[in-house]
Amino acid sequence: MQLLMEFKDLTRRFERDDYFLQASGSLSENETLAVRGPSGSGKSTLLKILARLLAPDTGNMFYKGEAYRQIPPQKWRREIQYLSQKPVVFAGSVQDNLRLPFNLNCSPPQINYSQDQASSYLEAVGLSTAILPQSASTLSGGEAARIALIRSLLVQPNILLLDEPTAYLDDSSAGQVINLLKTWLVEKDQRALVIVSHKQEDIKGFNQVKFLDL
């Protein structure tokens, strides 16, 4: 099993001196790393550090054996897709949102937007293609969360960093999302998942699970 990602002795302090994050871990092919801990323990902070949106005070991160400083942030973030705790959609239709990464100046190399792929992801998470022309700002919280997830999947990352992806969903939709992630993980080589979740059922859905307690 190939080691995909590793982070060693990451630390992070904020101005408030009663909080200190410290974390190490690794992630191999097809593995799921479940990050657990009480509210305020630093789960989101860790994910933001792994997405390089927040700089760690100390420590190092490696992707496929290479230290993060050697990898351009745009490439890093595209291959290691981060989804924030609050789902983010942009002005325009759902369709515009799904195409967005492909309309950037520096759109993903060797990947084109695939409508078939988008439709099959939509179906897998219980949404119909009728939602495509809808204005993204009118989506419900749970719909926005699923659209944001699909948008990231279409970029074809190797690692997904998901911050409570089922927080806005009912149990059956949550189950659909977890099932989609489960098939996504094994559909191709060199894929892995980091997930923050307070729900036992979410984690139980995966096969090779490692835990990181903060």
Partner: protein, 264 residues
């Protein structure tokens, strides 16, 4: 020179004290606590304007580039400080960039107006350059202050969106493009709106001055039109430069939003 305009004599000037007394009366009547500021403001305005009067008389008489240019640069510096004064907690210090943006916009537009449109003899006439550059500068300064303020507020309110765009592969510029558009627009809107109503509500100060000084209204209107479009252009260039130079300071070397942006 033609002194056809009506001069204000010293005695006549003293009558303007009546106006100060009226303001003071209102301030006292309503217990506004403004009396001290009013007094101090009146004295300062009188002294500052008197000194400027003497300084300008001297500068116009000498009329040398080695005096004109440093004065214009000093004005740019003061305007740069003023345009960034209200902005706290901004990443890096935007003062220097504001100075660059103001100087560039003022000189580009100022030179076009002075050299091509007004073209006095000799070309570098302090009497033309100093007031024209000053008017441009005042507007650019307000535009830049508005843009900068708006840019920081927009990005601060959209941090999640900006970060998600970065994650989807956007460059820093792409990630904040809509916020930058809003910011530049906020800076430019007042001068563009001014184009719409000029002359309808009140006559602009410069035109009023020229008419009082005896200029025929047709000529005064031409000047005013040039001044209006020059201000719009200067504000556009100033805001664009400011925002375009400053946006890089919002990001770290790692293309992430700098820590300070989260603290506002």
């Amino acid at each position: 020179m033609d002194y056809s305009y009506i001069q204000i004599s010293n005695t006549q000037l003293i009558f303007s004290v009546i106006l100060v007394l009226i303001t003071g009366g209102i301030a006292t009547l309503l217990k506004l606590g403004l009396l001290k500021s009013l007094l101090w403001g009146t004295i300062r305005a009188f002294l500052q304007l008197t000194i400027i009067g003497y300084a300008l008389t001297f500068i116009f008489a000498v009329n040398k580039l080695y005096i004109i240019i440093p004065i214009l640069l000093l004005q740019c510096y003061i305007a740069a400080r003023e345009s960034t004064r209200r902005i706290h907690k901004a990443p890096d210090n935007p003062m220097l960039l504001s100075f660059l943006a103001l100087t560039a916009s003022t000189f580009i537009v100022g030179l076009i107006v002075v050299m091509l449109i007004i073209s006095p003899q000799p070309l570098y006439s302090a009497q033309v350059m100093i007031p024209i550059f000053g008017m441009i500068l005042g507007n650019s300064m307000n535009g830049i202050a508005l843009s900068l303020d708006r840019m920081l507020a927009e990005i601060n309110g959209h941090i999640d969106q900006v970060e998600q765009l970065l994650c989807l592969g956007a460059s820093p510029w792409e990630a904040i493009k809509t916020d930058m558009q809003t910011a530049v627009k906020a800076g430019m809107t007042p001068t563009i709106n001014a184009l719409m109503v000029v002359g309808l509500v009140s006559l602009p100060g410069m035109m009023t001055g020229q008419i009082l000084a005896g200029m025929n209204p047709h000529s005064a209107v031409r000047y005013q039109f040039v001044v209006m479009v020059m201000m719009t252009a200067a504000v556009a260039i100033g805001c664009l430069l400011m925002v375009g130079l400053y946006y890089k300071k919002i990001f770290t070397d790692d293309m992430a939003i700098v820590e300070q942006m989260r603290k506002n």
